[in-house]
């Protein structure tokens, strides 16, 4: 199949970018979207042009690297998939395909379609640690955990940190990501001792990174390749409110000599 691509080209973080049109011919419907871009880049290199920079790694939907805003949606028209899992059969012969990077103040563009998503890493870091004993592994089921809680925690933990939630949100809000990270520890007993500090610190870091506010449009939930629910955002809202009211930082009552 033959397609007309309109791709965001930007030489560097400070450079002005613009949409540039590239025709690609003889695309197989069985190719993944990234393979199609590989074909385009091969042609560009052959012609002596600069290939389009885009991020990718595992190409099986688990690393969260591929991050393209395709035809007005993160990861393109499919549901529950990343860009590497999007196949060219999802497009029509002769279609114009728009390809842009995630756009958010907190995700500055490095080059072309590659953005710096380390804001997510800093949010995770701000979450701190959980208290578990070192030494030999704990016996399975030594700590009783409700099946429902374990399942819900696991659902939240499937977040791959791709940033589609931010990209799809009209406010560039990171609340689905942050709430998934808050949820997956706060639902488990191991995450309880630091639960209050964690939610307060992660929300503060999220705000400091310059993400927008959630207006409950639910676009993130629709576009999330892992189908993470906004119920997690509600949980974060509850936990933050509770923590903000009841948390007091630990104070030393007895000092050493």
């Amino acid at each position: 199949m033959n397609l007309k691509l309109k791709i965001w080209r930007q030489k560097g973080p400070k450079a002005e970018g613009k949409m540039v049109e590239y025709p690609v011919n003889d695309v197989s419907p069985d190719m993944s979207f990234l393979e199609m871009l590989d074909v385009l880049n091969d042609h560009l290199v052959e012609k002596g042009d600069e290939p389009v920079a885009f991020e990718h790694d595992c190409r099986e939907g688990i690393c969260g690297s591929c991050s393209l805003y395709i035809n007005g949606e993160p990861h393109g028209p499919g549901r529950g998939i990343t860009t590497c899992q999007l196949h060219m059969r999802s497009f029509k012969e002769g279609e114009t395909v728009y390809i842009e990077p995630w756009r958010a103040k907190a995700f500055p563009i490095i080059k072309d379609l590659v953005t710096d998503r380390s804001a997510f890493d800093r949010i995770v870091q701000s979450g701190g640690f959980i208290s578990v004993n070192t030494g030999s592994p704990v016996d399975a089921n030594a700590i009783p955990i409700r099946k429902e809680s374990a399942d819900e925690a696991f659902d939240a933990a499937t977040c791959i940190g791709c940033g589609a939630c931010v990209a799809s949100c009209k406010n560039a809000s990171a609340m689905l990501f942050v709430s998934a990270k808050v949820s997956h520890l706060s639902l488990l007993p191991q995450g309880q001792p630091q639960a209050k500090e964690r939610v307060l610190a992660m929300v503060a870091q999220m705000d400091a990174e310059g993400f927008g506010n959630c207006t409950n449009t639910q676009a993130c939930e629709v576009e999330c390749p892992k189908g993470i629910s906004i119920e997690h955002i509600a949980r974060m809202n509850r936990e933050y409110l509770g923590a903000a009211i009841s948390y007091s930082p630990p104070k030393a009552t007895v000092g050493g000599d």
Partner: protein
Amino acid sequence: MSTQSTNSFFLSSLSKKYFMAATGLFLIVFLIGHIAGNLQLFMSGYEGRLQFNEYAVFMTTFIPVKILSYITYFCIVFHVVDGVALTIQNRKARPQKYAYSRPDKNTNFSARNMMVLGSLILIFLGVHMYAFWAQYHWNDQMPIMLHTDGVSPLLKETSAAIKGGQVVGTDVVLNGEVLGPVMKDLYQIVMEAYQVWWVTLFYVISMVVLAFHLWHGFASGFQSLGLNHPRYMPVIVIAGRVFSIVVPALFAAIPIYIFLFVK
């Protein structure tokens, strides 16, 4: 909470949402009260007129109602200020727009346009408050409530018709003695307002805008306060959708009814 965390709490993104939700949900409760009172406008004749004007007196003099009305004004102002603050912050979070975006693929119209819908409602509120609230409070030239005999003014506080009473300013005077403030005829200016086709149309359109605002706002308020549970959320969503259609429809029915059937 320490002072430090108190400050960060009030400035945090989540707190702005809590305030948005709490004020919004209070205004939803206010709408229930407001429509309940306004349904009295479907009553006609002297009885209906008297009933509505007595209700207006009650609403503007009964202390608990006055307190509620001040909370309502506060909620409107806070909802607007907070909404504007959130919108400014949200715009800043994406300085460069997408060249091609299809938000219709993953969100509904109401959710995307809360600021626009809210701004239209604010304009409506300005007109609405000027047309009735301001007239009732400050216009001394307003029509006054007269007894069925067509000449005796009624007292505001007791609804007593004063035979031979004269209205001086806003007071009823009988034989040179001031008996008290006169009852204003709010019913009359409501009936007159909706005889004008474009006023009626403006009200109906405004109620459609309100319906769209509530379509997203109702369930959204619960979500923001953390009240989302797989078991209850479907009920909240359906209740919200029913509310967002029924209440604005009842509000809109009043001007339509008056325009068509009251002469």
